[in-house]
Symmetry: C3
């Protein structure tokens, strides 16, 4: 009689990285290396997706692909550097993603995860907290439910800060991870003059209430020529903020709102769905209609993106299908953050050749 | 007039490591090096004490003794590796023990110590959390009051997980620390054909309600030939689960239950006592009877083990006696975890010679 | 139309370190290097400011200035060493300051920030916790609202412990940071036979209720010849503990109490102000009188020190004036802790030449 649980009889099965590396390698081959746009990110605070242009976006994704295809770095570019992870709004996934990225680059991390243990609780101003951070670390990553907090810190910060979610405003590094996943799927989305009529992207979510959607739309506007249409799918009458739609359309994005997921699905090449977490909303009433499962009328070739963590809106029966790109998206989130962190601390020259090669 | 506190007048007195190293050195000399059993642990989840056989147990203890006798490692075998310490049930001792072990091997640690700050709180499934861990780290250490949690994670994990306590089920790395302490005390317990009638071990605790006791008994069954009897001392009518006793006796362990500590003590070579922490139990009624102190009728040569933290069941007047092996046991807990971690991440070849010497 | 926030248009402006380094460099040049007083700190617990003499104080500040003027250490003296940061009383500033100091020296950190997640909560004794720390780390930093906790740990500790605040008793490393700021301002305060009549220091705070003030006064007594007078400014009838004043005066410090801040300010060279955080006190009644702002009648050459975090007692309109030495004081707090940590773990010989050069 063997009382050993069946799951304990074998080693865990590491992912087949050889196979998994085809796609970042293809991206790497598709984009020419150009360190200049990344050098320009040195010492910059990264708060809004508006801060990226096409060259920065593509080179960040290229460097992320370089990291993803390089199992062990020859040289750790951030040895001796300290990341201050200030998560005043609870999070695990984003916090660990940044910590993992920083550690893989060789740096050390100091975390603040419980607002109750901080001086903030005692009424210290964010400007003073930022002044403290200047002396204690090299980069700050901030999540705060108050969208102005990052700007209050910027008034006295002299080290770069990365916005890891400021209220319902923006979440730019998540949007970078979304685009990185898209480019690994189809590198030709980066073409200056794309062939064909472009892909149709459906976004299940509310642009004026979800920071992930807001930042994603801004980055999608950078590849507007490759997109035939973005369909916003939700049950809200006014899904856009003030001039949010106008800004995106100015940049060439074609937007349309729809309330019927299943009517749209058969025409969508990419389906982006967010966990439905906003306050005071009506999701519950919508029932099954804003949910995806293996029974949804998806195009055979369609891919699904989701920033995770997920709730019932994304059924697990999709996990083992070809539609599942959300797990690859999650893996890439570490590499794209490695690329961004390397850039803002001015260490690009340690991982790729640059004209200056300055220390 | 000197206002300086007397305790501040001298440096702290480091333990006399020379003396303390005799015992791990003796163990090291007693067991022949054989990396194969450790190589077989590579990429394995470690959830149950049932996963060890004699060879694995002895070689893990040998490698632990190697670490204990080597003050500074020539090469740090886990540089660049990330441990995810997920303690959903509060703990300091075990968490810090794993962190210390990992750091001493050169790796970095990411900790989750407050369930309230995690996606778990938002209803994320453990399978999804595990999928996240795959991308962010190299090993997971999990403590969870739900004994099934580790198995739910295993459904999607592709990196090794170590069980640091799953409900009342198991705590295998604590049991390894217990055996490591026993072998440093008497290496001949590892003999295939022990001389004499074997030692008598008393366990003050309830096998079906204490994970430390459950795992310890399974490991003791691997050295059944060296044990004349294990006496379970408690005031519970049914101290064993379903077929728990049958499983142990099949493996050759001689078990007896007793309710009288002081009647048993004069015959015990090893006394294992646990902090009495189970819920809804009757410990309070037992009064002084299940407590050990310098006044207990211990054999002169008897040693006491305790997984710590302790309560009133283990009096501090024993700390300075020869019976005190619980402090040595606590020190060894770091080294045995170093040995296990080195094995599951497949880095044994970096610290001892192996036939393959593969990277 | 550009929707990018103005603060995001430029890189952050790093401080002009060249300029900032003049002062630590001047201190470095002013004091002759002598490793002996630092070697004497090896393996010592640091609980009280009474443990320092002039030579130790000056050499610690000298080593701190060495660190401040050395952007990247050639050799990381604490590689492989583990700091246990035990903050049983909430703190961010002091905790991160120690973590940053340790990381910059190359070591790893294990933190306990939430008492609820610890064995302490289960009733474990501090002596047992200290015994655990012996096995898991190389140095302990402790903050505890119970002033006896550090001494309870010392009963069983065999690794150095640093007091990061024990109740209302002491906070010696903060006082070291205060003196380091003073010496960078005027290195001649360290003279054996100072010229002139000495500086006048005002301390806004209550010596018998504020640990920062208590430790500061003890260190100031070491440079009593350079101080004409220390004026204690508060609205408390008995600002001193038992023999606190007697001890300081024995050491040569001239003390005077005053209740009128604005009457004293025009004569003060140094104004030390603390955040007013004690319980059940009368600060609220004092209104504006114990506050500093750009409108206060400060001497033109006066400097202000504040241990931070601050409340309303220190107006932000002083931040951009020449009086502001509290930000420099905060930056120096990391370097002075680096110097102290290097000394207690006996690694001075790795950063400066010593006669022994022992490992």
């Amino acid at each position: 009689m063997n009382r050993l649980h069946p799951l304990l009889k074998e080693p865990v099965q590491p992912a087949d990285w050889r196979e998994g590396l085809d796609r970042p390698q293809a991206l790497l081959d598709y984009v020419s290396e150009d360190p200049e746009p990344l050098m320009d990110l040195a010492h910059r605070p990264i708060v809004s997706a508006r801060q990226f242009d096409r060259a920065k976006l593509f080179q960040l994704c290229r460097l992320a692909a370089h990291y993803e295809t390089t199992p062990a770095l020859m040289q750790l570019p951030l040895t001796g550097k300290i990341l201050i992870n200030a998560f005043y709004e609870p999070s695990t996934r984003t916090r660990l993603s940044f910590e993992s990225a920083w550690h893989r680059l060789g740096g050390d991390v100091m975390s603040i995860t419980d607002p109750a243990t901080t001086g903030i609780a005692k009424g210290e101003s964010l400007a003073d907290v930022a002044e403290m951070f200047n002396h204690y670390g090299d980069v700050v990553v901030l999540r705060d439910s108050n969208e102005q907090a990052v700007y209050e810190m910027l008034n006295s910060l002299r080290i770069p800060i990365l916005n890891a979610g400021n209220g319902i405003d923006e979440h730019p590094t998540q949007a970078l991870a979304d685009l990185f996943a898209l480019f690994k799927w189809r590198p030709e989305l980066m073409d200056d003059e794309p062939k064909g009529q472009g892909i149709r992207i459906g976004i299940i979510g509310v642009p004026n209430r979800m920071r992930t959607v807001r930042s994603l739309l801004i980055l999608l506007s950078l590849i507007a020529p490759a997109i035939s249409e973005v369909v916003i799918i939700c049950d809200v009458e006014q899904p856009f903020d003030g001039d949010q739609r106008e800004e995106l359309e100015e940049k060439g994005l074609r937007l349309r709102a729809s309330k019927s997921l299943n009517n749209e699905l058969p025409q969508l090449d990419v389906v982006y769905i967010n966990s439905i977490a906003w306050v005071g909303d009506t999701y519950e009433k919508l029932g099954e209609e804003l949910r995806l499962s293996a029974h949804s009328p998806l195009k055979d070739s369609a891919i699904i993106l989701h920033p995770l963590a997920r709730g019932e809106e994304l059924a697990t029966d999709l996990d083992d299908t070809e539609h599942n790109w959300y797990f690859a998206q999650a893996r890439g989130a570490v590499y794209i953050r490695m690329a961004l962190l390397t850039s803002v601390v001015h260490r690009v020259h340690r991982v790729i050749d640059t004209p200056e090669q300055q220390a």
